[in-house]
Each structure stands twice: as C-alpha cells, then as structure tokens.
C-alpha cells in the first residue's frame, strides 16, 4: 500500500492522480503554445504565394532576406530601445524599490498598491494618454511654454524618445516588484553592522545592498527587456516611421504585406535572440556569484 505522504505526489511515483491534475495545464500548453510555435517554425521555411498564400516548401530564403540592411537596422534599433528602457527602469526603479522596502510595513502595502494601480486601466488607453501629454500642443509643451522654459514647442511625439518614455512608463512596475522583493530581505541591522565596521555609504551599497539586490536586478531587467524588445503597441502609437521596432515589423509582414513566412522567420529570430540573452544573463549571474565567492 502506498503511504499518503507528500512524497506520494512526487513525479517519480507517476500515480494516476498526478497526471490527471497535470493534464489540463499540459493540454493547454500543447494546444495553444507548443503546436502554434511549431507551425510558426515550419512556416518560416516556407515560401510566399503571389497573392499572399503560403507555399509549403523548404528553403532558407526568408532568413537570407532578413540580412537586408533595413531589417538588421530595425532589429538593432529594437535592441537599442529595449536596452535604454531597461537601464532607465533600473535607474528609476532601484531608489523607488529601496524606499518601499525601507518604509514601515503598513506603508509598504500602500506603496506597492500605488505601483500596481496603473494595471487597473487598459494599456491602450494609458498609451493614448501619453499622446495627449507629448504631442506638439500637448500638456507638456503647453506647461513648458507657460513656464517660459521653452519658446516653441519641442517635437516629442513620434520619436524614439517618445517610444522609450512609453516603454519605461509601461514596464517600470516589472522592475520595481522583483527589486523590492530582493531588497526587502536586507536586514536593517546588517546595514548598521557594515556602517559600524567603517563602511562609507557607497561601500554599504556596494558590498551589502548590491549583492542582495542582484537576483532582483537580473529578474527585473529580464522582465523589462524581453517585452520591450518585442513591444508592438507603444512604438505603433508613440513612435514615428523611423521608430519601427521588431514587433511592428512582424505585424506589418503578417497583416499588411501578407508575407506570413517572412513574419514567421522574424518571429523565430526574435525568439532566438531572447532565449540567447536569457541564457547568457543566467550564466553571467552564476559566474558573477562564483567570482564574488572566490575573491
């Protein structure tokens, strides 16, 4: 007879109940994630028919087409904007997360709620709001002219700057939350102890707070970088013709140019880039922590 212990639920036991409980999730992932992914991967090697149809064949033409300078520039620009967004989120999010982690427990809950409140409103609506703020006769320009800071309105909307502003705004909570979780674990007495042991404020940050924050920094950066890289809505609404990102390119190929195989190939490249970055950053984090230990 099997014991009714928690160990009875382990994968190795392979009981019927185990698979029954797992099956809805597995089915969901298989049908709605893995299968479409396979379709996209196969499609990326297919050819395009004259009227937008798909000719199921096998060639690397789509991938060679992607080497065109125009596509390389868009991929490079996407990486640049996503990197800028991530760094800005880190710079803005770190002090904020630290402040929340150091606040009194009751206040922490309120502050975390405030960080998450924007999610209550539709992202599309919030992005439209940025158009009203950034456009030539918008809130920001009007205010700056009234204050006499500038004489003529500055062109903010439909630029890379606007895209980064929109992305930073949208993804800042994804940086703040993991940072908060890691910084919240820093015991106040440990900070005091390092201060007592002659550490300057910078040294406290460098030797005590930063090592604790590292997993949060890594998680936050991934959570911001990955969706930023594939962003579609924000560059579509706030970016100009020159601010096209890879997400817009995919949308364009699928819906406007009706070249599904090329769109699929771009999707696959984006996926590989993201997977590569994740693998690289995970390895970097590992070796970083090992180095820390050896020194």
């Amino acid at each position: 007879m099997r014991r009714a212990s928690p160990a009875g639920w382990s994968a190795s036991s392979g009981g019927a109940a185990y698979w029954w409980l797992l099956s809805p999730g597995l089915l969901w992932m298989a049908l709605l994630f893995f299968l479409p992914l396979c379709v996209v991967a196969v499609m990326s090697f297919a050819g395009r028919g004259t009227y937008g149809g798909i000719i199921w064949s096998f060639s690397l033409t789509n991938y060679f087409d992607l080497l065109h300078p125009l596509y390389v520039r868009i991929l490079g620009q996407s990486m640049l904007l996503a990197t800028a967004t991530t760094l800005l989120c880190l710079m803005l999010g770190f002090p904020l997360a630290y402040y929340i982690a150091r606040a009194a427990p009751g206040r922490q809950q309120v502050l975390l709620l405030l960080v998450m409140i924007p999610f209550w409103t539709n992202f599309l609506v919030r992005t439209y709001a940025w158009i009203f703020i950034l456009r030539t006769e918008g809130l920001l320009n009007t205010l700056l002219i009234k204050l006499g800071v500038i004489a003529t309105p500055i062109e903010l909307l439909y630029s890379n700057t606007a895209v980064v502003i929109g992305l930073v705004y949208g993804y800042l909570p994804f940086m703040v939350l993991p940072l908060y979780v890691s910084l919240e674990r820093v015991d106040r007495t440990i900070v005091e102890a390092s201060w007592d042991l002659y550490a300057t404020r910078w040294a406290v940050f460098r030797h005590i707070i930063l090592p604790f924050a590292k997993p949060g920094v890594l998680a936050g950066c991934l959570l911001v970088f990955i969706p930023s890289l594939g962003a579609f809505l924000t560059p579509d609404l706030l970016g100009g013709a020159r601010s096209m990102m890879i997400g817009n390119l995919i949308q364009h190929e699928f819906l406007v140019a009706r070249d599904w195989p090329l769109g699929a190939a771009i999707s696959c490249v984006l996926m590989c880039v993201v997977a590569g970055m994740m693998g690289w950053s995970l390895r970097a984090a590992e070796s970083l922590s090992r180095q820390e230990h050896d020194s």
Partner: protein, 366 residues
Amino acid sequence: MLEQPASIDIVSLVKRHGATLAVDHVSLAVKRGEFFSLLGPSGAGKTSVLRMIAGFEIPDEGTIRIDGRSMEAVPPNRRPVNLVFQSYALFPHLTVAENVGFGPKMQGVSRLEIASRIRAALDMVKLSSKEERLPFQLSGGEQQRVALARALVNRPAVLLLDEPLSALDQQLRQEMQVELKSIQERAACTFVCVTHHQEEALTMSDRVAVMHQGRVLQIGRPQDLYETPASAFVARFIGVSNELRGVVHRIQGERAVIRSPGLTGEIQINLSNIHVREGSAVTVMLRPERLRLSGETSGRNGEQSLDGSIEKVLYSGSDRRYLVRLGEGVVWNVRVPNDESGRVGLVQGDAVHVRWQTSDAVVLEE
C-alpha cells in the same frame, strides 16, 4: 601619575521617543580596560544608551566622549567603537574570514595585514578551523564568536555588546560568560555590555550600572550592588530579596526596634548606615542565603529571629528553598545549602525560627 581620560564619558544624556524619555539625564564614566555593564529590564533605556555610543541614535541632549574626544556629529563609521549586535548581524553572503576582514578592508588595511589580523582574531575566539564557512553553516555559539572576532579585529577603543548571550541556551550562556570575560582580559579592551540578565552582569562585569525607566539608579561593583543596594528596585532586580515593611517603634542606642503590621514579634536593625526617627517607615531586606532556620528559640549573639511555619519546600539539587510564612502577607524565601547527604530537612507545616545576623539586613527608608 598622569590622569588618563575615561574610556567613555557620558554627561547628562537625554533621548526622547515622542513624549517619553527613553534616556533621562544619564551620566556615567567607563574606565579604560573595564568590563562595564548596563543592566535593567526591557525598556530601561540601556540599548538606547549603547546605540548613542555607537552613533546610530543621536542624543537630544548631553555629551558623549570616547577617549576624551567628543562624538558630536561623528557618524558610526568614524567612531573608535565596534558593536556586537544582539542578532549578530553577520553578512550572510560572506565567509567567516570575509566577515571578520570586513572592518580592516573598509579601513584600507593592506591585504597581508588583513590576513594576519583575521587569523589572530579567529584564534582569540577559538574558531580558526571555520574560516571558509558561511554564517548559516555555523551553530549559534559559533556565530556569536564570529561576531566578536569581527568587532575585535578592528582593535576598537571600546567594544559594545548588545545582549550578547541572549540567543544562546542556558549551558552555552554560562560557558560564554566566562569566555567573554577572559577574551576581554586577553584583548585588553574596554567592554560595555547591555543585558537584562542580572547573573550575567554580575559574573562578567567589573562595574554595573542598574537602569530603570531611562534613569541610572546605581553604579557599582557587583558586590556593592548585591550587598548594599541603594533602592528597593536594585535589591529586587539583583537577586532574590525578602522584604519586610515596618515602622520604627523605638530607638535604643545603635539599634532601632521595628514592628510590622503583619507580624507578632519585633526585630532590631543597625543604625550605622541610616538615619531614622521613631515612627519612620522602613523596608528591611534580606537575601535568602543569609537566613537560617532553626528549632531553638534563643539565638546567638547579634542575631535576629522571627517565628513562622514552612509553607512550601522547593528542592533544586544544590539547595533547598523554603517558603516560610511569618505573618499576614509576609512569606520569606530561605535558601539552605544541601551540604549533608541523607538529611531529611523540614517539611510543610513545621514551626521554625528564621534567624539572621543583624548586620546582614539592608534597611531602606521609605
């Protein structure tokens, strides 16, 4: 001989937390090389005093001098003191050696010098074999030693200890009391220790300041506090004390006769240390181990005696404690050493005489 400045000189220190006075005009001087304890119940303000010496709290009034130098506006990282935290506050991501080497590293000591200092500090606390461990791999007692080494490695003018032994179990605690004292002597360093544990304070300290509600009630050597407490609070807080409230009935030369409402008999007290008049209210205090129980009515010369009956016998191995009822609402604690095997002792209900040397009584005027 040249007069050396005190290691720590605190004058009229005040700290307010909102409307309450956490530290109420505390003044004290700690001598160089002394083991000094701040003793008191929780909320007495002793930790506040310690944190102000370390620089983590800013005094509202008063001054702190360390080795003659004023600590006003000096941040913790530039004070010549190191604190051993109650929770140890070891850096969890650093090894034992890195923890101990943190202070010297921050001060810019050379690598070679740091290595030899780490070794010396770990030797001093007998933890040389655990250099490469991480804090979570150590026992509570070992973590305590790392915390000590991490502070001592900096050769501070004063080492501050916040409830250093409170996280240890009873056995280890008693071992560490002895150990801490000998480390202090080896390091030839001034120790200031905060504790609420009176036995700990008495065992380790050269001098103790008893604190209560933000004020220092008495400063003295352990034996002074125990033998001649300046107040009922000190007497009660340090050791067990039997009390008798009474009124001076009459004065006979060097002695006064005391009567107490709950008692039938009367006792005499010495008047050498106290000035009372007839009718003064006094509290007479006696330590349990200074009392004797006997069946004989007449005592020896210079002894006082009260009649009572045994209410309870508590056997604790090394001695027996008898709770003796002397009268209405007066129950005394008498400790009799278990120094004779096979002795039956007294049992509940026995009528006894409680005796003591007149000079052993501490008398406080109310």
